[in-house]
């Protein structure tokens, strides 16, 4: 892959939290116009990576370039400008609980554009239609099922026609039908609107089925990067353990511990 088609470039990134190493000197590329899946066991800081990309967190060292611009050296105003080109789908949906579905989707447009009320209404109907929820426009977020809430959040995330959409664990806690719907939507949005998508997940099957590019993180390092086929064909024992869901292997079953003998009081 040439350097030209990289949308996000993570270079030598290190990040610590509470004395624990989350990332140590990792580098990865997110290609433009493709779906990139970032996978790894729970607790490896996949969500942290998204927050670092959105510059909600500051790295300890290293840099993240979005379209060649270092997001962590931007002023607050410039950062907010860059964020308008990003959409993020949070794990919980994060819909504003005091607004209806339609108001939630309209919110970014009301905040950042000079569109008239009727134009916004038309776009809201359009975005909700694309996630199949135009009929739910007047419901409140508390009346939605988990899968519907995530689809509304997706409609809101794409309201401003972003260049980049980040999905934080979109499949977690969804029933098989919702998962299928989300997979289809993510693929469709990416291809029709020419969006760059980053997907953070530990659902191996769903992720590999839609990703064009895959990175696997474990223990603060990138253990594999490549196309879905390359990842499936990988002979690396750590990658194989993760993909096949084996309980013990290079990634230990036990949390770091003392030898049992030292803890037993005789």
């Amino acid at each position: 892959m040439s350097a030209l088609d990289a949308y996000i470039d993570v270079k030598n990134l290190s990040f610590f939290r509470g004395g624990r190493v989350i990332y140590e000197n990792i580098s990865l590329t997110i290609p433009k116009g493709k779906i990139t899946a970032v996978m790894g066991p729970s607790g490896t800081g996949k969500t942290t990576l998204l927050r670092l990309i959105a510059a909600q967190l500051e790295p300890y060292s290293g840099s993240i370039l979005i379209n060649g611009e270092n997001v962590h050296s931007l002023s607050r105003t410039d950062l907010y400008k860059v964020r308008k080109k990003m959409g993020m789908l949070f794990q919980s949906g994060a819909l504003f609980s005091d607004m209806s579905v339609a108001e939630n989707v309209a919110f970014p447009m009301e905040e950042h554009t000079l569109l008239s009320k009727s134009e916004i209404q038309r776009i809201v109907a359009d975005k909700l239609h694309s996630v199949g929820l135009r009929g739910a426009a007047n419901l409140m977020p508390s009346e939605l099922s988990g899968g519907m809430a995530r689809r509304v959040a997706l409609a809101r995330a794409i309201a401003l026609d972003p260049e980049l959409v980040m999905y934080d664990e979109p499949f977690t806690g969804q029933d098989p039908i919702s998962k299928g719907v989300l997979v289809k939507l993510i693929r469709q949005l990416n291809d029709t609107a020419n969006i760059t998508s980053v997907l953070v997940s530990h659902d191996v099957e769903e992720s590999l089925s839609i990703a064009d590019h895959v990175c696997i993180l474990a223990g603060g390092r990138v253990i594999a990067e490549g196309s879905a086929e390359e990842i499936r064909a990988s002979e690396d024992p750590e990658v194989k353990q993760f993909l096949n869901g084996e309980p013990d292997g290079p990634v230990p079953f036990h949390y770091p511990e003392d030898a049992l003998a030292n803890e037993v009081v005789l």
């Binding site: 964020r83 919980s92 609980s97 009301e110 905040e111």
Partner: protein
């Protein structure tokens, strides 16, 4: 030696928290709103939930405190044969002291705790991050209207408290205990001054409102976003808020009414 070090460390972390809270307040309030109409709408919504919905508790407690004050005052004043002065006692006690302090304490429990819990829950459900991700500053959008509404409401609620307290006292002393109503009102008029009593009480309420609302929104924004964290933050709002009110009250009373 160790105690001295830990005391120093505690003081430094306290200073740091105060500094952070100050920057937090400055960033949320002392900036012009981007969209004026929308800010006004948000403010009105908060004025309703912080102010109007606190009316019932303020009116009811005001009436009861006025009634109790009239009963107690009457029984003592009657010993000196000056039970007419109960009106004067009521008005001065309420305007100078009881209305601002009790209203602020009630406000910390009723509105402060709900502000903290609401903001904390917005943090826990990633709504605050979501605002940030959309390029909307949550300090301006979420914190500022709540803080301003709190600061506006508390002094007004305190005035309402005084008024209902006086009416409650009037019902008990004139209607029930038989104090002469002309004497009740005229002694009150004679002894209450607009600038020393009403204005000073209002200033007190204003100071309390800044302190309580500031603590409430800051605790909500800085809480650990778990159920336990929100619970703790809500408790801290009520405890710190009440202590701040009582301590501030002493300082303000000393400055306003103390004879140095």
């Amino acid at each position: 030696m160790k105690t001295v070090t830990s005391l120093g460390a505690w003081f430094l972390s306290w200073l740091e928290a105060v500094g952070r809270a100050g920057i937090f307040l400055a960033q949320s309030v002392f900036r012009l709103p981007v969209r004026f109409n929308e800010s006004v709408n948000l403010l009105i919504k908060q004025l309703y939930s912080v102010g109007v919905l606190s009316l019932v508790i303020v009116v009811v407690s005001g009436a009861f405190i006025g009634m109790v004050l009239a009963l107690q005052g009457y029984s003592i004043l009657a010993k000196f044969g000056s039970e007419e002065a109960v009106g004067q006692l009521l008005a001065l006690a309420l305007l100078r002291e009881l209305a601002p302090v009790v209203t602020a304490l009630l406000f910390a429990g009723r509105a402060g705790s709900s502000l903290t819990a609401e903001i904390g829950l917005m943090k826990a459900t990633e709504q605050l991050s979501s605002f940030e991700m959309m390029g909307v500053d949550p300090l301006r959008r979420v914190i500022a209207p709540r803080f301003i509404a709190g600061v506006i409401c508390l002094p007004l609620l305190s005035l309402i408290f005084s008024a209902t307290g006086i009416i409650g006292g009037l019902v008990v002393s004139v209607g029930w205990l038989g104090v002469h109503d002309g004497a009740f009102w005229s002694l009150m008029q004679q002894s209450v001054y607009f600038d020393t009593d009403i204005i000073n009480g209002f200033i007190k309420a204003l100071c309390f409102s800044v302190a309580v609302t500031w603590i409430a929104v800051y605790q909500g924004y800085e809480c650990v976003p778990t159920s336990e964290g929100i619970g703790k933050a809500t408790t801290r709002t009520v405890v710190l808020g009440s202590l701040a009110i009582l301590a501030l009250d002493f300082v303000l009373t000393a400055a306003m009414f103390g004879d140095f």
